[in-house]
Symmetry: C2
Subunit: 112 residues, 2 copies
């Protein structure tokens, strides 16, 4: 039975981070702004959300980090690992199934 709900609508920050990092290496501060911009301000995750998630994902092997200095600024770039890609697919699937289910209830569809 694989996974139950367990805080079923949670893990969205994680999902967004993994998705964005899949396109290209990114660093924390950049992710904060990217999420704000791409969602047109609908989602505004603070650094207090992003950094802990980033650390957790790296600890779990979903992301790998590399320090780079740009313009005299030290940045920690994160890249998606194979495990991370797997995790992303997993989360995206869960999210999709969940929102479909909620949507079905919201529009009041025939239930079986």
């Amino acid at each position: 039975m694989a996974e139950n709900n367990s805080n079923f609508m949670s893990g969205v920050p994680e999902l967004l981070i993994l998705r964005l990092v899949r396109e290209k290496e990114m660093y924390g501060y950049e992710l904060v702004q990217a999420i704000r911009e791409r969602s047109r301000d609908a989602i505004a995750l603070g650094e207090g959300v992003i950094y802990p998630v980033l650390h957790a994902l790296e600890r779990d092997g979903a992301l790998s980090s590399s320090r780079k200095t740009v313009n005299g600024r030290s940045r920690v770039y994160y890249a998606l690992t194979a495990a991370g890609a797997q995790r992303l697919d997993n989360l995206a699937g869960n999210w999709s199934r969940l929102t479909d289910a909620i949507h079905a209830i919201l529009i009041g569809v025939q239930h079986a």
Copy 2:
């Protein structure tokens, strides 16, 4: 200024309950099963989730309750109030905006 995210993907149980009760009066035990059935087991909220939310919604004036005895069983039916309908519209709108934003990021749409 207006509202920020504040636990942006939360309140889903509340949303589902309000939506279901809008169609007809329902009682706790019934809601637990209705959510499971309508979501085809994608969402399985336990009674430990439903009842506290029900009580909070009534306390806030979004629901009104009435005790009825059916088949020698005592049930507490909840009905949507005007305030509750307002709240439902509000939550549904938020949810819609949120999922749209997430979807936009997931499919990698052009941002502005």
